[in-house]
């Protein structure tokens, strides 16, 4: 790599060849406004907001797209540049439904910020907003409002580059160009996985999650209803960002207090049901291995693949419908929680399940869809009544007028509020695998996993596909058939990586026994329901916070969670038992591929 030198606003900068002018500007702390640019995505260069003047060029250059050259002289704030930028933002505003007062992304919108920064006069141009744009609310998860779209194509690039789903496309041309699905079908008929990655990459309010907080407020306000909320592991390390905390802050205690202050009857922990998932899934894996290795049962599908990411589940239902047998039958922690909240919890608390409203706070958009899958009513009721995102919770806390920073810490309620470090790391890519190995290895050998401090580092980090292998030796008598087996596992996050893993599986060439897949890059900490912005740096910080959370837990193995031990004793009886099957396991359906 050769190094080149250029000047930007009279500052000298050296940078690797191949980097853009924008990269170079960042290096010397010159901020250039952008809109279509996103760190996660390839260059588009279509919004033109980032234009700068390059000496010797008649036209302006889009700094996000033009490579820096040796000897370049760049000016980012000349009258020519400012006029053009201002005009461009004014043009975007002129094709926009400028109703910030009623917009979900207000105060967190890149167009709004640019418009404020450049003090745009809404009357500079005529409105060319298309009339009669209907908001698509067909999906349980995603809301699409083309009247707020700036046509930056970030969503299209996200769905293609990060997720390889390509549910979204650009259609038409010229004045009719827009973001659309196949044949402009409503989103619920598209092959959309509901992952919500397009939502967190959209700079405006054009793509948002469907909001359900009004339902929650209603339930809270209803005396007759008993509202239980479970909060996912990755929410506690991200919600702070909505409330003035720096990225990566752990605010678990304050979050619990705030929920109590909202008037929720019982604040519980999804980490509990994550632990439960680990136990069920761990046993399922061992059972599959036994059937495959000992009983030579050819109907058993290996590798087994995790099923706790509903975006991933819908993806495989669409794209690899022939291979659903590889999915673990375990429900996701959210749905296990829901089913138990209206059975076990109701029984223990002596509350009529019909009066229980079970809510989850999730880093995820797909969980909304999952909660509404028709089959998710094994408790006899809708297992989960509403799934909210981290962002929605942030809004609720603000709506309640709470001063989050001033809140004292408090503990989760009981029962189903106790958790372990293993449950906590579910929130980061590799976490499920790590938790599962901690439990499975110990079940089989009676010893701790052979890693320092139980930290299975090979499955951590942001690499798209990670692999690990653990040799099972000196197995307990029950598991002697596994003696000497090298357990091979893989972890994929982001659906583009999931597809790579699945291509291998489909070709019958997968070398693994067990695979963890999360739909979102980074796992849940980078979920479609997390605070905006989300990018690589932010994902890393949230993940670090999750691992700190784990290190600070007294118990760090799912099967050692006292409440888990208790629920098996009192209610479920045994892993994969009859009750488990009824409440905690599920089946999948084939969906259209195109």
């Amino acid at each position: 790599m050769s190094i080149i030198n250029l000047t930007i606003d009279n500052k000298k900068v050296s940078i690797e060849k191949g980097q853009t002018i924008l990269d170079a500007a960042k290096k010397v702390n010159v901020r250039i406004p952008t809109l279509c640019h996103h760190e996660d995505l390839c260059v588009a260069g279509n919004c033109r907001v980032c234009v700068v003047e390059v000496e010797g060029s008649k036209t302006l250059s889009a700094s996000c797209a033009v490579p820096a050259e040796d000897g370049m002289v760049v000016k980012t704030n000349t009258p020519k540049v400012r006029n053009a930028r201002k005009d461009i933002v004014a043009l975007l505003v002129s094709e926009h439904n400028t109703q910030c007062t009623t917009c979900y992304r207000s105060m967190n919108c890149e167009l709004q910020a640019l418009s404020a920064e450049y003090n745009i006069d809404n009357n500079r141009y005529l409105s060319v907003l298309k009339p009669n744009i209907e908001i698509d609310r067909s999906s349980w998860s995603i809301e699409k409002d083309d009247s707020k779209c700036v046509r930056c194509q970030r969503c299209v690039r996200t769905c293609a580059e990060l997720q390889h789903v390509n549910a979204l496309t650009v259609s038409g041309k010229g004045k009719d160009m827009k973001i659309s699905t196949f044949m402009d079908l409503p989103l619920n008929e598209a092959i959309c996985t509901n992952c919500g990655q397009c939502v967190i990459h959209c700079p405006t309010g054009a793509l948002t999650e469907r909001r359900y907080f009004d339902r929650v407020w209603e339930a809270i306000g209803n005396e007759k209803k008993h509202v239980v909320i479970n909060t996912a592991p990755s929410v506690r390390v991200a919600i702070g960002e909505m409330l003035g905390y720096p990225v990566g802050s752990r605010v678990t205690g304050k979050m619990v207090t705030s929920l109590k202050r909202l008037g929720v009857d019982s604040v519980l922990d999804t980490d509990f049901s994550a632990d439960l998932t680990i136990v069920e899934e761990g046993y399922e894996l061992l059972q599959r291995l036994r059937k495959a290795l000992v009983e030579n049962d050819t109907s058993i599908k290996l590798p087994m693949i995790t099923s706790c990411s509903p975006g991933w589940v819908k993806f495989i239902e669409h794209i690899f419908p022939e291979h659903l047998g590889h999915l673990s039958t375990c429900k996701s922690p959210q749905q296990m929680f829901g089913a138990l909240s209206k059975t076990y919890y109701a029984e223990k608390k002596g509350i009529d399940p019909k009066d229980i409203v079970s809510i989850s706070i999730m880093p995820c958009a797909a969980k909304k869809f999952e909660a509404n899958r028709p089959e998710m009513n094994d408790s006899g009721y809708r297992d989960i009544d509403a799934g909210l995102t981290t962002r929605e919770l942030g809004h609720m806390i603000n709506q309640a007028g709470l001063n989050f920073a001033e809140l004292e810490d408090s503990e989760f309620d009981s029962i189903m509020g106790e958790s372990t470090g293993a449950g906590a790391i579910f929130g980061a890519t590799g976490g499920v695998m790590e938790a599962a190995l901690r439990t499975a290895y110990e079940l089989v050998t009676g010893r701790d996993v052979p890693f320092d401090n139980l930290n299975i580092l090979p499955v951590r980090g942001m690499e798209g596909i990670k692999e690990a292998a653990i040799k099972l030796e000196n197995c307990l008598p029950d598991w002697s058939f596994l003696e000497g087996v090298e357990l091979k596992v893989a972890v994929a996050h982001g659906l583009i990586n999931a597809r790579k893993i699945m291509d291998q599986v489909a070709a019958g060439k997968s070398p693994y026994h067990f695979i963890e897949v999360m739909a979102c890059p980074g796992g849940c900490i980078g979920g479609g329901g997390q605070p905006i912005p989300t990018n690589d740096e932010i994902r890393k910080k949230r993940a670090e916070a999750i691992y700190e959370e784990d290190m600070n837990m007294p118990v760090r193995k799912s099967h050692k969670n006292p409440e888990i031990i208790k629920i098996y004793k009192e209610f479920l009886k045994e892993p994969l038992g009859e009750v488990s099957h009824r409440l905690l396991h599920t089946s999948y359906k084939k969906r259209n591929h195109y």
């Binding site: 390509n166 549910a167 979204l168 496309t169 659309s180 196949f182 044949m183 598209a190 092959i191 195109y594």
Partner: protein
């Protein structure tokens, strides 16, 4: 349905199954079925390992790849300035009257669709119209009517 499937298969065999072959394949479907049905786009997506949205998004960029139903014969009248100056409006009116449709519409029997087009590249001989692949230049309203009659005499007497 089966027909569409076979058609797409034939076209893919002929042109190849990489994305570079997408436009020739879609052109082939249009040549045979007048426009791209949902079914056809899905089949093409399958064959080229694309999502159906990508196929639709690409097709909808191009004015010759219809994603909505059109008639068997597509009449395009040039609307650009030279043809405007040489009287394209009279041609349009004559055709509208003959076919009893408005600009942009398709006859009820799905025989004809009338649309406007940007410059067709015959400006020195305007007004110009393109019927399917055939160019007719220096047309008069009478000539336009004859041309359309010749294409489907039966249809027009039935009207």
């Amino acid at each position: 349905m089966i027909q569409t499937k076979n058609l797409v298969k034939e076209l893919v065999d002929k042109h190849g199954c990489s994305r570079n072959n997408l436009l020739p394949i879609l052109q082939g479907v249009v040549a045979d079925e007048n426009y791209l049905t949902e079914k056809a786009m899905v089949e093409v997506a399958k064959a080229l390992d694309l999502s159906s949205a990508e196929v639709y998004g690409t097709a909808s960029f191009y004015s010759y790849l219809f994603t909505k139903p059109v008639g068997k014969n597509v009449i395009r009248v040039c609307k650009t300035i030279s043809c405007k100056m040489s009287g394209k409006q009279k041609i349009v009116q004559a055709i509208e009257k003959l076919l009893k449709i408005k600009m942009g519409e398709t006859t009820r029997d799905k025989q004809f669709t009338l649309i406007e087009s940007n410059c067709l590249g015959w400006c020195h001989k305007g007004p110009v119209m393109l019927v399917n692949d055939d160019v007719y230049s220096e047309i008069t309203p009478e000539k336009a009517i004859d041309i359309i009659r010749d294409l489907d005499p039966k249809h027009l007497t039935d009207f």
